[in-house]
């Protein structure tokens, strides 16, 4: 691999390199990597292939990259999902690139393969959401008889999340309606410990990821991105509370459900 030793890559390779760096950055950001990792990985790839005067600036929802002899690029990454498998693979690829083991063409092909990594099949996600809800319902003191209800509500919740994603509902509204749905089902179904079932099934909606990302961004000194994530976490927590609250008020007034 001579590309590392070349002082300046030829213009064509430069363009390809720029595409590769932008592609890797976008993929990382889209799949739930923190700002610092995106920045570091893009930087490592660019420098490993002999990119000169590389400057990269990454935000929660966008990235900028400039390189000697290339047009400065900007990418807008509005929607981020979480696919940690892709993040892991790109991380491993960047490590091999840094060691000088991957020719540029191979790196491009590998990145295509990583972008095409399938998510967990839908039934697997439904099962995982149901199992997770049931486990957390038990963890917070739920009775054995309620595990079945938590499984059912967790599965319905994941199906709702699929539907919301397909309709393109925004995140806040999705969480609000999702929390409302959980509470409504728990009220209607004959659960013994309604509180525990609701709490367990709310866990997949809680902003654990946003909170963790926010902390990581703050530690790495990316205060702007950390603030965006923190607001995200607070809004999600607020909308969950609102969703549950609205349904419980409605149930209390319409159905006369008496809360213990």
């Amino acid at each position: 691999m001579d590309a590392r030793r070349q002082a300046t890559p030829p213009p064509a390779a430069g363009e390809e390199l720029m595409n590769l760096v932008m592609r890797a950055g976008k993929l990382l950001l889209e799949n739930g990597a923190e700002v610092f990792r995106v920045q570091q990985t893009m930087d490592i790839i660019a420098r490993s292939y002999g990119g000169q005067d590389v400057n990269i600036y990454v935000l929660t929802n966008g990235l900028y990259c400039s390189m000697e002899g290339q047009r400065t690029r900007v990418a807008y990454v509005p929607e981020a999902t979480t696919h940690l498998g892709r993040v892991t693979e790109i991380n491993a690829l960047s490590r091999r690139i840094a060691a000088g083991q991957v020719p540029l063409a191979e790196a491009i092909a590998r990145l295509d393969a990583i972008a095409a990594l399938p998510p967990t099949p839908a039934w697997g996600q439904v099962a995982a959401c149901a199992a997770g809800s049931a486990c957390f319902a038990m963890l917070f003191g739920g009775l054995w008889v309620d595990v079945g209800w938590a499984l059912l509500i967790g599965a319905v919740l994941q199906l709702f999340l699929f539907g919301a994603a397909r309709l393109g509902l925004n995140k806040i509204f999705t969480k609000l309606v999702g929390a409302g749905l959980v509470a409504a089902l728990a009220v209607v179904l004959p659960c013994r410990g309604m509180d525990q079932v609701i709490i367990g099934c709310l866990m997949p909606l809680t902003p654990g990821i946003a909170l963790t990302m926010s902390i990581r961004d703050f530690i790495n000194g990316d205060y702007l991105s950390g603030t965006i994530r923190l607001i995200d976490a607070l809004l999600i927590a607020g909308s969950i509370a609102c969703g549950v609250g609205l349904v419980l008020v409605g149930a209390g007034n319409l159905l006369g459900v008496v809360f213990a």
Binding site: L84, R95, A128, F136, M203, L211, V244
Partner: protein, 147 residues
């Protein structure tokens, strides 16, 4: 807290964390490690609350060994630390406190509503502090890139 009960708590929290690792599309070979971090964090939390600690203190302390474990797995399995941290902290996320905040709000019990809301916020801050503390300790140079 009795030993069988602790074991039961460990298994359930590990199971829940495992499910979340699948939900976040974590690589298959990291699932057991995610489950272990989640279980370990919850175990420490249980022991501390059983010993009389508040949920905030327990969250703060429990997140320390959890994050240490995450870093160890990140280096050992050569994966980003986020893989383990995302799913591992879920048992400690204050989902119950968020729920009770809404619950007491609609029941009009304002004192309890404020108390639960503050508790949810304090737990989140405690977790943030704990994670930040452990992540801020620098690694030896030869391991630095491996997280």
């Amino acid at each position: 807290m009795s030993l069988p009960e602790l074991l039961r708590q460990l298994l359930i929290s590990a199971g829940g964390t495992w499910a979340f690792a699948i939900l976040f599309h974590a690589p298959r070979r990291s699932w057991w490690a995610c489950a272990l971090t989640g279980g370990a964090g919850w175990l420490v939390y249980c022991l501390l609350t059983a010993a009389g600690a508040s949920s905030v203190t327990a969250s703060l302390v429990a997140v320390l060994p959890l994050t240490v474990l995450c870093r160890a797995f990140a280096v050992g399995l050569r994966m980003p630390i986020t893989v383990f941290l995302f799913s591992g902290i879920f048992p400690l996320v204050p989902g119950a406190a968020i729920y009770y905040t809404a619950y007491y709000f609609i029941r009009g019990e304002n004192a309890l509503f404020v108390q639960k809301g503050a508790e949810a916020f304090k737990i989140a801050v405690a977790m943030a502090l704990g994670i930040a503390f452990v992540l801020s300790i620098p690694l030896p140079r030869r391991h630095r890139r491996s997280e």
